[in-house]
Symmetry: C2
Amino acid sequence: MVARLKDIAQDLGLSVVTISKVLRNHPDIGEQTRKRVLKRMKELNYQPNFAARSLITGRSWTIGLVVPDLLHPFFAQIAKAISVEVRRKGYSLFISSSDEDPALEQEEIAQLLARRVDVMLIASSQLTVESFRQLEEQRVPYILLDRQFPGFESNFVGVDDAAVGVLATTHLIEQGCRRIAHIRGPEISTAIGRLNGYKQALASHQMAPLAGHIVSIGPSGDHVGDKAGYAATVKLLALKPRPDGIFCFNDPVALGTMRAIFDAGLRVPEDIAVVGCGNLSYSDFLRVPLTSVDQNSKMIGKMAATQALKMAESKTPVPRKSALVAPQLVVRASSMRTKR
Amino acid sequence: MVARLKDIAQDLGLSVVTISKVLRNHPDIGEQTRKRVLKRMKELNYQPNFAARSLITGRSWTIGLVVPDLLHPFFAQIAKAISVEVRRKGYSLFISSSDEDPALEQEEIAQLLARRVDVMLIASSQLTVESFRQLEEQRVPYILLDRQFPGFESNFVGVDDAAVGVLATTHLIEQGCRRIAHIRGPEISTAIGRLNGYKQALASHQMAPLAGHIVSIGPSGDHVGDKAGYAATVKLLALKPRPDGIFCFNDPVALGTMRAIFDAGLRVPEDIAVVGCGNLSYSDFLRVPLTSVDQNSKMIGKMAATQALKMAESKTPVPRKSALVAPQLVVRASSMRTKR
DNA sequence: TTGAAAGCGCTAACAT
DNA sequence: ATGTTAGCGCTTTCAA
């Protein structure tokens, strides 16, 4: 059988409360007693019963994470980083993958809420802000990851998407591109931020997007990003004059873009330079290695975990905090038009 | 405040027990009463307190999953599939990433055990079988994923690794390769199984591995697979005669292999055909798209979840079961030497 | 068909 | 420095 405080108490002729105090490093316990108790705990490999503890403290020592797609390396990396950080403090992590389905996400949030998680971390695939109401109502602290909602104040950790756009676009300009197109993502904060960064970078070089140079992949998710990128690029290639640089919403889109360029008999980067976002692990191994903006997902996970732990530990509500992580450009062949 | 059974009982002038019975669909409750209770539950958005329930039933409605690396698409896919399946039945999933570190894995298992998970699912990075003892002792049902331990009986779900080796090697033979090398993985069941399949396929075609045609990537994990694959391939290319086909332990290794072949001024597949394992998502986008054996990780996750749920629900120990999932060959350019 | 009593393992508040 | 009492929210057993 699994040992309980009561067992240890009986073995040692002490009361349950004394054992409990030792367990939680309560100060007023005699040195002798403490040692005896700890010894016996080791012997029995005692593990506190979290359910019992939760019942009385009202805390579950548990954190919930909901991501749109666990298969996506960006979210997998975040999940991994969070898992590592919170475990150190004795928390365990529920992870749930919503498959980019808002209805499923709602259910998952509800289920984790029923588990009385101490904090919720959500990379939401919602378009509206409704599902966060139940969190507010139940007073469960939560942090949004990666995607924000305009006009909705909340704790947030994610990459600085405007900086992503600036970084990528400025790089293309510096590589000599003069007709830089952007294949933008769907109507979520990340895509909007990158688009804004793109415009901003052009503006600071006295440039502006040419007609038809901003195309959208539509509402499609990452799993079909390459197909959407291909289609979008075909449109761009039909323009006259055609672009000489393309900043893609993300790496899967950039793969489709490069394929479309090759299929048209053109070269990367000589005819068209390409920059993606995400810095996926395969970027090095492509026909033309892909320049990409790294989102620093590990750091996002770490910061989210730190903030989550702070919120879990604090008795009183922690002030809202929005943390933007700096992205980083990783230059590879797909954009190297200048020799160095 | 969050609603409790007691609140509903008071509101309706019933006892807590009655409410509890309605909650669990207990038969002997009057139709009228049941309806009244359910109505009130909806109104209050009642969610049962899992901690209280666990405390008395001894079940947590929780499942633990430990993988070596959540970033690896193979494990991410398994985790995702399991998460989907178990949620349907009202279970939540703790996911933990051990970073291929046996000591960390031990800790994570211990922590999840302390959480009283109903079932443990483990893709172990252990070399020995020690850490499973605590599971046996505490009588927590568990299932090993992907990696087995010779001579150690346990529940297991994974791909049929011998079939992986047979599939890949037979394919290379059929493509006309006659000097087929194998870059094998570390001393774990998956690598050993694939190696055996490789030998077996050669044998059934009256062939045998040539001298020096089996090289190992050593103990390195997947994150440096490409470097290890590169080094191993350099050795193979030095052989006379050199191989005309290489079956690689996994896709990252195959990437390194192809790079080494290109660096040597040779062509894939004309000079050397290459087959990997894992069918990673980028396989289509490489300089030469990579033929790979798919491990059917989604199915592995699904079967593991089904088995786990069966074990969680059953009062008595469920008979041991070892399930091998059939792999599938996905042919791409890296091995297509014959026209069709 | 409904409810009263007991208790799961632990912690908080208050004695001693 | 140690122990007593009470109770967290729920389920189980048994009685009405």
